[in-house]
């Protein structure tokens, strides 16, 4: 990086007036999500960690994992003994003892329990307590315990967390359950909340499955809400986590929105230079949809951008298709 005040040239520095590229925005968003998770781990407000806002998300994720590991390790031996005792108690008695111990220690013990014992115990605990316990369950605990739980119970806990605005914990939860269970949790969610959960998922590899299964109406509502709240950039960064069919699905939903919504997204995509991220979705979009997307006012610029992106990677078939379909 040049020193502050050093003369910038096109060769060594991007135009400072130019908007950031999609990759930079996605990286900043990933850092923001990791900061929120680290703050949650340390019981701080995210702005108390603002000095870490320029760190890469991977470094913050590693730090968060180290913090979680250090907290779990402090009483590991003792909690394993408790888990051993809980495993031999009748489930009803163990459930009463867990409630007596409270949700934080309940979460630590659940992580140490044999997964089958944890599942048996969870079935005896009241929903409110389980939801509270889930707030303190670390990623490893979620991955060990949650997949074995009754999907109806996971859905009920997830909806309770959704009602309480616990998007960060939900992001952890939906990463550990099959897409159908995750969708059952979020099917009635407010679209803005749904976007937040997607931005905060622990494992972005679950997003293609979620977008594939999400009803078209729900996806359309999320896109419309992004336009209404000016969060098109957040939605576009999520596009980078999707597979080609998922990107096509998003583009198809976008084409079905009113023209001003489409224009809003395409303008932001042009500002971010996001056309290379849009390109993989085009083979999964039919010609009528593509024609709608390329309509004025924002369509011509999108056509130029996507054509250039296709030419840059030697995708002659897409270039020819755009020439044929475009205005």
């Amino acid at each position: 990086m040049p020193e502050p005040g050093a003369p910038a040239t096109p060769a060594d520095r991007p135009d400072p007036a130019a908007p950031p590229a999609l990759g930079d925005v996605a990286a900043r968003l990933a850092t923001r999500a990791e900061l929120a998770k680290l703050a949650h781990e340390l019981d701080l407000a995210p702005d108390e960690l603002a000095f870490l806002a320029d760190e890469p998300a991977e470094a913050l994720r590693a730090l968060r994992t180290d913090v979680a590991t250090s907290l779990a390790a402090r009483h590991e031996a003792r909690l394993r003994r408790v888990a051993g005792l809980a495993g031999v108690l009748p489930p009803g008695l163990a459930a009463r003892a867990a409630q007596q111990a409270g949700p934080v220690v309940g979460a630590r013990v659940a992580s140490a329990l044999d997964p089958d014992d944890a599942v048996r115990l969870a079935g005896r605990l009241p929903l409110d307590f389980l939801a509270e316990l889930t707030l303190s369950l670390d990623t490893a605990g979620v991955q060990r315990v949650v997949p074995g739980l009754d999907p109806a119970l996971v859905t009920a806990v997830g909806r309770r967390l959704l009602d309480e605005g616990e998007h960060l914990v939900l992001g952890r939860l939906v990463s550990a359950v099959p897409p159908e269970a995750a969708l059952a949790v979020v099917e009635h969610a407010d679209p803005a909340a749904l976007l937040q959960v997607a931005l905060l998922v622990d494992d972005r590899s679950v997003l293609p499955g979620l977008v594939r299964e999400l009803p078209v109406d729900a996806l359309r509502t999320v896109l419309a809400a992004c336009h209404d709240h000016g969060t098109e950039t957040d939605a576009l960064t999520l596009l980078t986590a999707l597979d080609a069919p998922g990107r096509g699905r998003v583009l198809t939903c976008l084409a079905s929105l009113p023209v001003e919504h489409r224009a809003g997204f395409l303008t932001v995509a042009a500002e971010l230079g996001a056309w290379s991220e849009v390109l993989p979705g085009l083979p999964h979009v039919d010609d009528a949809t593509l024609r709608t997307l390329l309509e004025p006012p924002a369509g011509p610029a999108a056509l130029a951008g996507v054509s250039a992106a296709a030419r840059a990677v030697g995708d002659t078939a897409t270039v020819a298709r755009l020439d044929a379909v475009g205005p």
Binding site: F51, E55, S70, A101, R108
Partner: protein, 95 residues
């Protein structure tokens, strides 16, 4: 400050507190020392809160155990040689 007992830089203390090699935190080297000091304090407080919560919860849970078994369960959960029960060994607790 006691003369002759240098305080390690904050990043070294963070690494010690998390029990990880300093190299694992290399990305944080460019942070301001005052910010790293705050991070170290935040981690210390989180560890202290964890210790307090676990000890409180264990005591509450032991009270729930039927009287004839209580001493045995308490002995299993709080062995006399475990420092966390007395608060010693909880570095954050001393700060």
């Amino acid at each position: 400050m006691t003369q002759g007992v240098p305080v390690p830089p904050p990043l070294v203390r963070v690494a010690e507190r998390l029990d990880v090699p300093l190299t694992e935190l290399a990305a944080l080297e460019r942070c301001d020392p005052a910010d790293l000091e705050a991070l170290d304090t935040a981690i210390a407080m989180a560890q202290h809160a964890e210790d307090l919560e676990v000890r409180r919860s264990m005591r509450d849970a032991v009270r729930f155990v039927p009287a004839p078994l209580r001493r045995r369960v308490a002995a299993a959960l709080f062995p006399a040689d475990e420092p966390a029960e007395t608060g010693a060994g909880t570095r954050a607790g001393a700060e």
